[in-house]
Amino acid sequence: MIALEGNLAVAEAMRQIEPDVVAAYPITPQTEIVQKFAEYVANGQVRTEFVAVESEHSAMSACVGAAASGVRAMTATSSQGMALMWEILYIASTMRLPIVMPLVNRALSGNINIHCDHSDSMGARDAGWIQLYVESSQEAYDTTIQAVRIAEDPDVLLPVMICLDGFILSHAVETMELLPDEAVKKFIGQYTPIQPLLDIDNPVTYGPIDPPDFYFEHKRSMMEAYPPAKQAIIRVGDEFGELTGRRYGLFEEYRLADAEFGLLVLGSTAGTAKEVVDVLREDGIPAGLLRLRCFRPFPNEEVAQAVSHLKSLAVADRSVSFGGFGGPVFNEVCSALYTAKKKIPVVNYIYGLGGREVREEHLASIYEDLAVVASNGRETDTVRLLGVRE
């Protein structure tokens, strides 16, 4: 066991992965990752070409160039940094480049705010990246390692974003277990690229102009990668479980099977929610939790199945879809339930924006509300704000 901040745990995973190229730029609260990695480079602990770029846009562009060349490429960022990468996120996924990127979740400007919410990653939910949200720093470390395998799976070949809550995880010290270097190297294995740019004798053209005749088919072929991605996430999570005893999947059910009132959350809030569930259970309240780990691809059938027995469900969103009906997670869950013909009352809670603390009493109040929602049998006041002043 070792005590580490989330950022340093991620940096440690990156040291063990030892990507061929890391191109990164500092931004709060991600900075420690890039500076720790620069230290590994400076001390000769990794044989990585570290490209200290002049912006996140160039970080992702350099990762695209490197990954297309046929090597393992990584970067890490937060908030505005990923907003600046936006354009290139889509190009990375369309080129089917297995880039791995820890994203330390931070609210998007404006106004400028350096604390946690999910507006950065949720905004990029349609960019074609696999998105895995972690609950703890241990999971951030574990998932960074797994992400390499998931991204490089021949049936997947998609970039992966590991979303960890800014400050709450990135700057909090947690005791955790690390794998020996050799175990990580063995787990991720050697990378064999398909049609790399640096295959000089077999030249390929990457990123041509795609006319209306072909663009749609290319998007279609990309869409076909997400069901296998779901399987790869489960497969790699299982294999990691055999190695470490820590098994991961698309989501985690916590006291959900026999629950009547369910809460669905992403990220570190699940830790607090588990505590709340335990307390409520002691009082005889049938509370349960679904902690969604994999938001992209969205496990619609699996989630619908897992919550279908509930009397009522609350979906917590740590971001806003301005002008939309509820947050992005709520939308996905409702679509999943509707198409699966699972008609249960669902309400949405927008919470924790810009690092607003979410306390046990906040989450306990959701379960109180859920009892009312269940007895009403209908969703009144569907989209609610949690922990905001009037």
Partner: protein
């Protein structure tokens, strides 16, 4: 420098049949640049005419590895390619000696790609960056860029009753790049192939970033006869509007000075984009442009020591002298 005959036998790395306009400077420049090295080359391309016209899926005109990512980031993209190459080399997984080449238009280089270019130059990636400078956003339909000279007609600096074309001076990007203190920087034209191929060779040989700013005629945007493309660039040089020079490890070298400096009018008369300058009422503007060109030329002459650079002959050694004597 190889002879024209030798160059003509080099394998084509950009094949014909692409969709660039007749008389476009870009493919001529690209082929001349590619003649500058026998090493394998990986090409990165910014969004623009060259990218659009050479890679219409499912066809490609490129016989070398080629990547296009986006508009403003070709310097960053090639940085990543070069970094991957270095990583593989360091691990003994790659044994070829490859050169890295980036193409961007003036929009992708002077304007939107300026930051990525500056960053890549500062980081010292070994790459040859070529700006295909046709002095406006031609791919989107002739909009002004910061490379567009003062007084030029473009669709976003149109000539109207209140404005005589672009009002601002162009950016001196070559000097901006030289200020990064990289090993090799040069200006060139496709109309002087010997100079351009030689500069490409020097750029590929430079052990660090190299930058070539090449004036690229655009019959559509400049409104000239497509048969005049090469000639127009030579007139630009003779009018001292686009001087041929290089900056080698910080030393400014003038490559050519016209025996008889041509008036800017001689260059402007060949192109529709400047015809308004000859209209009544624009005499002062035309005079001002000439004065600016003269002033810039004088500044360049000073930087270059007042004369055309001559390669110094290699110092004679005793051995070489003896050999020469023996040969007699």
């Amino acid at each position: 420098m190889a002879s024209l005959k030798q160059l003509a036998t080099m394998p084509e790395r950009l094949t014909g049949g692409h969709r660039l306009c007749s008389g476009c400077g870009e493919s001529i420049i690209v082929r001349q640049i590619l003649m500058g090295t026998n090493h394998p080359v990986v090409v990165a391309n910014a969004t623009g005419c060259l990218e659009v016209c050479t890679t219409m899926f499912p066809q490609t005109a490129w016989k070398v590895p080629w990547i296009h990512c986006a508009f403003e980031n070709v310097a960053a993209t090639i940085s990543g390619v070069e970094a991957a190459y270095l990583a593989l080399k360091a691990k003994g997984k790659f044994d070829r000696d490859v050169r890295f080449l980036a193409f961007g238009g003036d929009g992708g280089t002077y304007d939107i790609g300026f930051q990525a270019l500056s960053g890549a130059l500062e980081r010292g990636h070994r790459m040859v960056y070529v700006c295909l400078n046709n002095e406006a956003y031609m791919n989107t339909g002739i909009q002004r860029s910061s490379a567009t000279p003062k007084g030029t007609f473009t669709t976003t600096s149109p000539v109207g009753s209140a404005r005589p074309g672009k009002r601002e001076q162009r950016k001196d990007l070559t000097a901006c790049v030289a200020a990064h203190n990289i090993p090799y920087v040069a200006q060139a034209i496709p109309g002087r192939w010997n100079d351009l191929v030689t500069k490409a060779q020097k750029a590929f040989d430079a052990e660090g970033p190299a930058f070539l700013n090449v004036l690229s005629p655009c019959p559509l945007g400049w409104r000239h006869d497509s048969s005049l493309s090469a000639q127009i660039t030579r007139v630009a040089v003779d009018a001292c509007i686009w001087p041929l020079y290089e900056v080698v490890d910080g030393e400014w070298r003038l490559n050519y000075a016209p025996r008889q400096k041509l008036p800017v009018e001689d260059y402007f008369r060949l192109q529709g984009r400047y015809q308004h300058l000859f209209a009544k009422g624009n005499e002062a503007l035309l005079k001002e442009i000439q004065e600016t060109v003269d002033k810039e030329w004088d500044k360049l002459l000073k930087k270059c020591g007042g004369q055309v650079w001559r390669e110094r002959p290699a110092p004679k050694t005793a051995e070489a002298t003896a050999q020469a004597a023996g040969a007699d």
